[in-house]
């Protein structure tokens, strides 16, 4: 059946739409089969399915694709009785509908590729669909069985009666399912080139060059912002020179130029953001696009093997380099097939050993900086080291002497050797010894590594670590003091505002009751050494962070929002700081550090640093370098140092923390050192606090003294190494703990 040449261009678009809709239908069917939905969920799922199938039918008909329209119609018919009495969908009906979708999509792609004429008569496909419709399952309730039977009846009055024996389940062989899945995955990549005729073939080098240019554009935008600030300074200078009248026209003109420049800068920022988003869309795609077809594969394969399995995916929203995903797809298929075949036990065996009859397969994906961690696990029988040892010897992969010298981990690693299989017979699924060695080869091709961990009787975990250049991850932006930090969304289990009534507070620690568990409350500011630990206050945001089986309640100052960000690796100088996994660029070009969840949930190793016997200093300076230098000097002198970038922020700190000495810069925005010291001296609780004023200009000495500073240091004095000496002198004079 051919397509009107005038409509051929539209068919390609329809194919993409149909692919997406069929994927959604598949996911809904799998949910309906599992019985995980409540009545409301079931109703909505059936409604969605009805809409999806109707859309497919309508779109196909509008393009004159009569065969597709009728297949969709038949699928609607099969669904109709179930929609009337909302219930879990019987497995045979799911089989019919999935099979129907496969036929539908195969024909869609044939039409899109211009092969519609060579397709077999669609009535044959319809007949095949109807004759394979199952009879009610033995033991199934009439209510559950009848819809399936009735579903097929009106569709094909001429169809043969349902067979008396239990119907052969409609299973796509794993190879077919895999092929379908692979084909579906592959379609996305090649579709634009083969069918639409509107795509471009570009090399990765061209794209990365474009990315670098976008980076440059962002830097140009930042320079524009700098120019604007300089222009503002010029205007201010002209207004200060006592030449107000003479420079009025020039100032007006300059202000106009400045406004235009700011507007241009904002527009450039929008363009840069749009370009980056566009590039991200071109180069990456969410992992779920390759994982969703795997759900179907697991379902079909486990049925074929007489097992029950459910695949759970964690981290499907992570976006990765398309090239990497394409290569990973095959490895994931192998791992899951291996888990379903070798790992999971049959339902009866599982129940005998106290497990749920349905086996659990889990895929977990996490991106940390420039590394991707992918874990495929099952709760099956685990790897029997003894059996692996025997088989390795039997297959001649290692001598008994060699095997004798190996520990359990080394024995387990033998499963990655070419030719290794614990099966003695060859089945459709396994036994040829090709599988895990192919997975390892694929991972190594990507410069990654694969490891396996297993506990006999409890399950197996395959852990893949791969380097990634591109890709983004969802990140929750939080604030601690004036610094923003990112939390990988994958690790954020819940967010809530502190209710003191929900906390169990002792003298030294607080715990949050969460889902029947007591979680330690961790103050992020204190954990990062930015302040002394303190109890969370009413209404303060708390994040439940989970990593490696541990959970904590993390107290932050504010939650900014969530974003999808590209996480870049940190430079060598800070790579070893365990608190961070990378940094991401925010819209203005500044970097935000991304916290490492495993560090957040770990026990703080630097407990001693915040112990009360340490002297504590607060450095107040708007210069990042001055703060770094003073901190280095004071830490070398045994102080615990906290930092503030203005007088105002320092006052905030003094309200919650206590210090032995304050080192304060004179010239600062927001609140200068003079005003800060006056305020400190006015407050009863800080009146006696030793404060040293620091300034570039010697003239600051008098101003400091007048404001109430204990001493003064010029930057030159600091450069000569006077800071620590003066700090000790002042503390001694004030009767501190020096």
């Amino acid at each position: 059946m051919g397509v009107d040449p005038l409509l051929q261009g539209l068919v390609a678009g329809f194919a993409a739409e149909a692919q997406e809709v069929c994927q959604k239908v598949t996911m809904d069917l799998l949910d309906l089969e599992r019985g995980v939905l409540d009545t409301e969920g079931l109703t909505k799922a059936y409604q969605r399915l009805g809409r999806y199938l109707h859309t497919l039918k309508g779109s196909a008909a509008s393009l004159g694709l009569q065969d597709l329209s009728e297949i969709a119609h038949k699928l609607e018919d099969a669904l109709a009785p179930l929609r009337a009495s909302v219930q879990q969908m019987p497995r045979p009906v799911v089989d019919v509908l999935l099979h129907g979708l496969d036929i539908f999509m195969l024909r869609v792609h044939a039409h899109a590729d211009g092969r519609g004429d060579s397709l077999p008569d669609y009535t044959a496909a319809l007949a095949q669909l109807v004759t394979e419709a199952p009879a009610p399952e033995p033991g199934a309730s009439p209510a559950a069985a009848s819809p399936a039977a009735s579903a097929t009846a009106p569709a094909a009055p001429a169809a043969a009666p349902a067979p008396a024996k239990p119907a052969k389940p409609v299973t796509l062989g794993p190879s077919t399912a895999t092929a379908t899945a692979a084909m579906e995955g592959g379609r996305d990549e090649t579709h634009g080139e083969t069918s639409e005729g509107a795509g471009w073939r570009v090399s990765s080098r061209q794209v990365t060059t474009l990315m670098r240019e976008v980076e440059r554009l962002r830097e140009v935008r930042l320079r524009m912002e700098e120019r604007f600030r300089e222009l503002e300074k010029v205007v201010a200078l002209l207004a200060r020179q006592g030449l107000l009248a003479e420079t009025a026209e020039a100032r007006t003109l300059l202000s106009g130029v400045g406004r235009a420049m700011r507007s241009d800068g904002e527009e450039t920022a929008d363009i840069v953001d749009a370009l980056e988003e566009g590039l991200k869309a071109i180069t990456t795609r969410p992992v779920r696009t390759i994982l969703e077809p795997l759900q179907r594969m697991v379902r079909d394969l486990s049925r074929q093997l007489g097992k029950e399995a459910r695949l759970s995916v964690v981290g499907a929203e992570v976006s990765l380099d398309r090239r990497l995903l394409e290569k990973l797809n095959g490895a994931l298929v192998h791992l899951l097939r291996n888990a379903a075949d070798h790992g999971l036990e049959a339902p009866a065996e599982r129940e005998r050993t106290g497990k749920h009859h349905e086996g659990a397969l889990t895929l977990r994906i996490e991106q940390q900086g420039n590394l991707l961690f992918l874990e495929a696990s099952d709760d099956g029988r685990g790897i029997d080291v003894k059996s692996v040892r025997q088989m390795a010897e039997f297959r001649g992969l290692a001598s008994s002497e060699e095997l004798g010298r190996m520990n359990d981990n080394q024995i387990r690693d033998l499963i990655f050797r070419p030719g290794f299989s614990t099966r003695t017979d060859v089945t459709d699924t396994s036994g040829r010894g090709v599988g895990l060695d192919a997975v390892r080869a694929a991972v190594e091709t990507l410069q990654g590594r694969i490891e396996v961990a297993s506990t006999l009787g409890q399950g197996t975990r395959f852990m893949l670590t791969l380097p990634v250049e591109l890709g983004s991850s969802p990140v929750l932006q939080v604030k601690v003091f004036d610094q923003e930090m990112g939390l990988p969304m994958l690790a954020v289990e819940a967010t809530q505002l502190t209710k003191m009534s929900a906390l169990r507070v002792t003298r030294r620690r607080a715990q949050l009751e969460y889902q029947g568990q007591m979680l330690p409350v961790v103050d992020l500011g204190a954990r990062l050494g930015l302040r002394a630990a303190h109890m969370p206050s009413e209404g303060q945001p708390l994040m439940v962070i989970s990593a490696g089986g541990k959970r904590v309640a993390l107290a932050v100052d504010a939650v900014v929002g969530d974003r999808d960000l590209v996480i870049r690796p940190l430079p060598a100088e800070v790579r070893d700081v365990p608190a961070y996994q990378g940094a991401a660029t925010l819209s203005r070009g500044e970097l935000m550090l991304i916290l490492r969840p495993s560090w957040l949930v770990s026990e703080p190793a630097t407990q001693a640093a915040s112990a009360p016997q340490h002297r504590r200093a607060l450095v107040v300076d708007d210069s990042l370098t001055a703060r770094a230098l003073h901190r280095a000097m004071l830490e070398a002198g045994g102080f615990v140092v906290h930092l503030a970038s203005s007088g105002k922020r320092a006052l905030d700190r003094l309200q919650t923390d206590s210090y032995d000495v304050v080192i304060c810069d004179l010239e600062m925005e927001e609140m200068d050192g003079e005003e800060f010291i006056r305020t400190v001296r006015e407050r009863p609780d800080t009146r006696e606090l030793p404060v040293i004023l620091v300034s570039t200009h010697e003239s600051g000495r008098e101003r400091g003294r007048a404001a109430g500073a204990d001493d003064f240091l010029s930057k030159r004095d600091c450069a000569e190494g006077q800071l620590l000496k003066v700090v000790m002198d002042v503390m001694s004079r004030r009767g501190g703990r020096s």
Partner: protein, 203 residues
């Protein structure tokens, strides 16, 4: 030019021309000629001394640090940026000021004073110098102001290297003994390889 005797008519014309104000093109031509002659003279001088290694210079970016003068080889310098958009990294080493973005890369901004074991600058640094660490990686160090490029005789550098193998070598150079200058030349590869121990290297 004025040494060659001219015929009387030509001399008269020449004197007249000297009395008349020169046209802009002529004035420019004259200046260009003088400039070219000056350059030719310098090149002849170089040629005469056979451009020996004694006269070859190492171009460096020189800047003050505290009371002393420091320099980085110009070939290691990649850019000078205003010191802003640096994100502090809590829990990092004391010599780390923070991280920043440069041409799509994340770089560490380091306190040069702290790295060299100094105590501070005379005024707050306003500039970051992006430097090749010597292993192909870049990092940024702070600086009071944009450094000025100067030439340091290679012979003086080699003599200093013979005395010290550290990351910082003291190079003494200058024509007259009373007018000699001292500059602390930083070897980025050695400085960053040894990390920020906080001690003065090469002393």
């Amino acid at each position: 030019m004025k040494g060659t005797p001219r015929p009387p008519e030509e001399a008269q014309e020449g004197e007249l021309r000297d009395l008349l104000p020169r046209l802009p093109d002529e004035a420019q031509e004259q200046e260009v000629r003088e400039l070219l002659e000056e350059r030719a003279k310098r090149l002849r001088g170089l040629d005469q001394s056979d451009a020996s290694r004694e006269d070859a210079v190492l171009l460096v970016a020189e800047f003050p640090l505290g009371e002393e003068r420091y320099a980085l080889p110009l070939e290691a310098l990649r850019a000078a940026l205003p010191l802003r958009m640096v994100t502090p990294v809590p829990l990092s080493s004391p010599h780390v000021i923070g991280v920043l973005r440069f041409q799509g890369q994340v770089l560490a901004a380091l306190s040069l004073a702290s790295l060299l074991g100094g105590h501070g600058w005379r005024q707050d640094p306003a500039v970051l110098l992006v430097v090749d660490r010597g292993d192909g990686e870049l990092c940024a160090v702070d600086c009071e102001a944009i450094p000025r490029p100067i030439g340091v005789p290679v012979s003086a550098v080699e003599a200093a290297r013979a005395r010290s193998e550290g990351a910082i070598i003291e190079v003494l150079f200058g024509a007259q003994p009373g007018q000699q200058q001292l500059v602390h030349l930083i070897d980025p590869a050695r400085l960053f390889m040894r990390g920020g121990a906080g001690a003065r290297h090469g002393r």
